[in-house]
């Protein structure tokens, strides 16, 4: 006899799904962990073979209609044609695990439900699965890997690029107070003496010096140039991110032979706009993502920067004061330094 399901709502004050909590209390999380480790995040080819053969709807044999496995018995049903729903209706079961990400669906709540303990299990196994396929950890924030650790440690002068004082870790430390990069500033001062002190300096000069210090640091530690045909070529992270190639062709007037050289550059100086140039054609698309502006005169002043986040939201950063801005405000500023990034990273 089919069990007529009675739809029960969770108590309105209850946070999360009470049906899942009840089942967890009764049966624990072992069956969930088994489903995750053998059908969602496998760590060996044998297990993946089983996964490929079993993740199929018991009713319509579909494998792409969001297959769910019943958490309370062995049954697989698709969501698209509601075969998992009809299983719940017939059996009185009510919890299903979606087999792509391991999300839990509750038939009583008629929705996916969240549970911290189960999510931790999912993540643990997803990590192991990625690792077994030689892929990077899908959930981890940046941690220096072995090579990066060596780079960081082999900084002979111990000038403060150490793992627990990198900009990244300070930035993500969770503290909500203005970020003061005094270590970075100190590092620059030690290497570019002319910038040390409390006089006013030029933002562009500072930027180039910063890149130069970091470049020298990484260049030395990465063993220098690896390309003998091009002594300027460097594979350090700074060069890979910031360096472009400027190609100049010299044509012989007599034989029309062309000699080509490619010089590396970090920045391009723009002419003052006189309204006559046609816009240059580009092969790649770039996004404007930061504009540094100078306020004041030639002897002294103040820098303010506009930064773009989340696609099209601009923020104005004026020392520790950060406010929302819109694109027209940004475009109406004078603009001293413009930062762009590539729309699409290079395909391999």
């Amino acid at each position: 006899m089919a069990v007529v399901p009675v739809k029960k709502d969770c108590h309105p004050q209850y946070r999360g799904c009470c049906h899942l909590a009840e089942l967890k209390e009764k049966d624990g999380v072992d069956s969930y962990e088994t489903i995750i480790s053998s059908l969602v995040s496998c760590t060996s080819e044998e297990m993946r073979k089983v996964k490929a053969l079993t993740s199929i709807c018991s009713i319509c044999s579909s494998y792409s209609g969001r297959i769910h496995a019943c958490l309370q018995c062995i049954f697989f049903g698709c969501y698209r044609k509601k075969h998992i729903h009809s299983h719940f209706q017939g059996s009185g079961h009510y919890l299903g695990v979606e087999l792509l990400y391991g999300n839990v669906f509750c038939f009583h709540c008629d929705n996916y439900v969240y549970d911290k303990q189960l999510m931790d299990i999912t993540r643990k196994h997803a990590r192991n699965a990625s690792k077994s396929l030689g892929m990077r950890d899908p959930f981890e924030s940046w941690q220096p890997d072995y090579e990066e650790m060596i780079l960081l440690k082999s900084n002979r002068k111990r000038l403060r690029i150490t793992p627990n004082s990198t900009i990244g870790s300070v930035f993500y430390s969770g503290k909500r107070q203005p970020l003061i990069l005094h270590r970075l500033l100190h590092l620059i001062w030690m290497h570019a003496h002319h910038l040390a002190g409390f006089e006013q300096h030029d933002a562009h000069e500072f930027f180039i010096s910063t890149l130069d210090v970091l470049h020298r640091h990484f260049f030395r530690d990465s063993g220098g140039s690896t390309d003998p045909s091009n002594p300027h070529h460097c594979n350090c992270i700074i060069d890979r991110i910031f360096t472009g190639g400027l190609q100049s062709d010299v044509v012989c007037l007599k034989c029309h032979g062309v000699s080509t050289t490619i010089d590396p550059f970090w920045d391009i100086s723009l002419d003052l706009y006189d309204g006559s140039d046609a816009p240059p054609t580009t092969l790649l698309e770039y996004y404007l993502f930061a504009v540094v502006n100078h306020i004041g005169g030639i002897r002294g002043g103040h820098y303010v920067v506009y930064i773009r986040q989340h696609q099209d939201q601009w923020f104005k950063c004026n020392d520790e004061l950060i406010t929302c801005a819109n694109i027209s405000q940004v475009l109406n500023t004078e603009g001293y330094l413009l930062f762009y990034h590539k729309r699409i990273l290079e395909y391999e």
Partner: protein, 97 residues
């Protein structure tokens, strides 16, 4: 190719993709490309709007999926589709399917 044969072929392909772990790799690649293209941010904004409109207490994942899917599909850049297609073709050649 007739219909049953095509369905069979698809099923075999799906199995191979899962067995070898290639499916996971493709998923990761796709995820990365969609983040790069701003697809994720755009969809997130859209989803937020829908949730706001319907009320966070009443909305279900189904509602979101129904509303977002057509838009989400349309927004996937052609270059990303092409790259994925290339990868899948290459994989099938290697597997000699």
């Amino acid at each position: 190719m007739d219909k049953t044969k095509e369905a069979q072929m698809r099923a075999t392909m799906n199995q191979k993709l899962i067995e070898t772990g290639e499916k996971e790799r493709l998923r990761e690649l796709l995820r990365q490309r969609l983040v790069e293209a701003g697809w994720k941010d755009e969809l997130k904004m859209h989803a937020k709007e829908i949730v706001k409109e319907k009320g966070v207490e009443r909305i279900t994942v189904d509602d979101l999926v129904t509303e977002l899917t057509p838009k989400a599909r349309a927004l996937v850049p052609d270059s990303v589709k092409r790259e994925l297609l290339q990868r899948i073709k290459k994989f099938l050649e290697e597997q000699q399917l």
